[in-house]
């Protein structure tokens, strides 16, 4: 697996948690992560990670995406040092930390379910890491107050943890990690327990915080929408292996295999039956054009054009006759399930331009744009 080492956006050395007073040592520069041949076997037959090579540049918002059990949380725990590697090396900020225990790595984690300490109030939860590092009490108080203000929870500092809502707990967990000014912040599905509205607010806020701090974020999620919205780059994992690494756009438009294509939500995936000079042959017909090598084909639903059935259209290149079998109205788009002559179902998404929609049962023509077609190996 080749991994590009250039971040897709420049690393900005932003303001920092506090408005840096001049006598303060400048915030530590963000650190990159290098993983080489990283494997984790919980038992000889329980392989959580299998030879992961990954390079995460400093200051990147990087996401580990995959279904449950794919190894993404294990990978995060290996970076945090909460789990020992079976083989392979971990480097953070150019320093080999493979053998270092969690409490000796300058890395902090926002845990799923937040893992706040019940016996401490909000301020003491946030200050816990500094206290363990024997930072002076006055300094702890000052940094806790500044971080709380930055995360907008300064009004909660005196509260007990059991008096907080889910969103507030999430913010406290974030502050508890950020106050230590780690080289890398790890986030283990931190938004999965929140309801949809709060979730998208916090998505945007996490992105804003990451940009301002210029800190390397490694974010774990099973939600491809969340991964696409938030990340500079995404690694898709399955069965302990990296399936593809790339920008959200690359993963969506150019999936490298069937798993990635399916996980990114694509439905129009077809096996290539034959190939010739002019194009490819699929089970339901042929597509003319030049396609990259591969055994399978993805046709993106939003690149198709659906028109009323008409002899002049139906004879055009890469156009098929179909019947509307299903229609899902989503406001800004309409999704059509189209049945082709041989029974194959093709999904097409049409922008809502204010024109009348096609009813179920209508005979239509669907034109496939070759720019929306990608071939790849299974």
């Amino acid at each position: 697996m080749t991994v590009s080492s250039t971040p897709s956006k420049p690393t900005s050395q932003a303001e920092g948690v506090r408005a840096d007073p001049p006598d303060e040592t400048a915030r530590r520069a963000a650190a990159g992560i290098e993983l080489q041949g990283l494997s984790k076997h919980f038992a000889p037959d329980a392989i959580a990670l299998d030879g992961v090579d990954l390079s995460i540049p400093a200051g990147e918002f990087f996401t580990l995406l995959g279904p449950s059990g794919c190894g993404k949380t294990t990978l995060l725990r290996l970076i945090a040092g909460l789990e020992a590697t079976t083989s392979g090396t971990v480097e953070i900020g150019g320093r080999a930390v493979t053998e270092a225990p969690a409490h000796k790595r300058n890395v902090n984690t926002v845990f799923q379910s937040y893992a706040l300490f019940d016996h401490l109030n909000v301020a003491d939860n946030i200050g816990f890491g500094l206290r363990m590092q024997r930072v002076a009490r006055a300094e702890i108080t000052r940094r806790v107050a500044e971080t709380a203000a930055f995360i907008k929870i300064d009004n909660l500092l005196g509260r007990r943890v059991d008096q907080l809502s889910g969103g507030q707990r999430q913010r406290v967990a974030l502050a508890r990690a950020l106050v230590n000014e780690p080289d890398v912040l790890l986030l283990d599905e931190p938004l999965s327990a929140l309801d949809a509205g709060l979730r998208s607010d916090l998505q945007l806020e996490l992105m804003r915080i990451q940009r301002r701090l210029g800190m390397t974020f490694v974010f774990v999620t099973h939600d491809q929408q969340e991964a696409m919205v938030m990340s500079d780059r995404v690694a898709v994992l399955d069965a302990g292996r990296i399936q593809q690494v790339g920008s959200p756009q690359a993963l969506y438009e150019h999936p490298e295999n069937l798993f990635v294509a399916r996980f990114m939500g694509h439905e129009n995936l077809f096996e290539i039956v034959d190939r010739d000079e002019a194009g490819v042959v699929l089970s339901f017909g042929r597509l003319n054009g030049r396609f990259t090598a591969g055994t399978h084909l993805l046709i993106r639903p939003e690149t198709m054009t659906v028109t009323r059935d008409d002899e002049s259209v139906a004879t055009a290149d890469n156009t098929l006759r179909a019947r509307v079998a299903e229609r899902v109205y989503r406001g800004h788009v309409a999704e059509y399930g189209l049945t082709l002559a041989d029974g194959t179902v093709l999904v097409a998404t049409c922008n809502n331009l204010g024109e009348p929609m096609f009813d179920v049962g209508t005979e239509v023509c669907v034109s496939i744009r070759t720019s929306g077609v990608v071939a790849f190996h299974a």
């Binding site: 909460l82 969690a102 409490h103 059991d162 230590n180």
Partner: protein
């Protein structure tokens, strides 16, 4: 039977059960304040039997032994049991289920069997070493610790398994080394369970008769043993007074233990 009739009957059973549980205690407490030497006729309120208690050296010595035994065994059992409970928790995913059974077993073992085996164990050690571990307060402390430890370990263990395991990871992630994790996270988190376990161990020890009886020496008579020998001559108001004091002590200890066990849960519910 109609639903209403059933409800009334069940409620009747409930009050009957309470009566059988607590009426004897109330009777004992009442007659301890009797002004005459009788457990059948109540002649008037007086504290003479309590004064008699305080003046009786044998009783005061038994009381002293009981308190020393209960305190020292509970302290040792709380420390050992907490460590054991933590060990059970950290090893819960390995194949050590049978070891945990070893911890459970003394809880269900009949006291009489346990007491007799402790006695033979101590006397054979004493015989083999020429007088080390003669029956007395030391052997009683050892015996009491051994039956208190499983209760402490199970209380601590059940508190630990109720925790989110990510809390331990969060501690490590936030730069706490092993000692800091123990001092700043594990002990404060376990405190309600540990305090409850201490008071439970204390009540188990202070009212134990069977195991104490078999492991006691001539000089280490405790209150339960004294009472047992005293009532062979009939129940005296003096015994009633001792019993009343013990009931009071046990009630207080149990109340504190319960309060500590539920104070967190209650607080959480109140906030939720």
């Amino acid at each position: 039977m109609s639903g209403r009739g059933l409800r009334i009957t069940l409620r009747g059973f409930w009050y009957l059960m309470l009566l059988f549980l607590y009426a004897p205690l109330a009777v004992v407490a009442l007659y301890s304040f009797n002004s005459i030497n009788s457990s059948a006729v109540f002649a008037g309120v007086s504290l003479r039997w309590y004064h008699a208690l305080l003046a009786d050296d044998t009783i005061m010595n038994a009381f002293y032994n009981s308190v020393v035994l209960a305190l020292s065994s509970s302290v040792i059992a709380t420390v050992v049991g907490t460590l054991l409970g933590y060990g059970m928790y950290t090893h819960r995913e390995r194949r050590l289920g049978w070891l945990i059974w070893l911890v459970y077993l003394p809880i269900v073992m009949p006291d009489i069997v346990y007491g007799i085996s402790q006695m033979s164990f101590f006397t054979s050690i004493s015989a083999a070493t020429g007088g080390m571990l003669d029956l007395g307060l030391t052997t009683m402390v050892i015996a009491h610790v051994s039956f208190q430890v499983p209760f402490v370990a199970l209380l601590v263990y059940s508190r630990l398994v109720g925790l989110d395991s990510r809390l331990f990871a969060a501690c490590q992630d936030l730069y706490a080394n092993a000692w800091q994790r123990a001092w700043y996270f594990i002990l404060p988190t376990l405190r309600p369970a540990i305090v409850a376990a201490f008071f439970l161990a204390f009540t188990l020890s202070i009212d134990d008769f069977v195991i104490s009886f078999f492991t006691a020496g001539p000089e280490s008579t405790t209150l339960p043993i004294f009472i047992w020998s005293a009532i062979k001559k009939g129940v005296t108001p003096e015994v009633n007074a001792i019993a009343t004091l013990m009931i009071g002590a046990v009630f207080a200890a149990a109340a504190v233990a319960l309060a500590f066990q539920y104070v967190r849960a209650g607080r959480r519910n109140a906030a939720g």
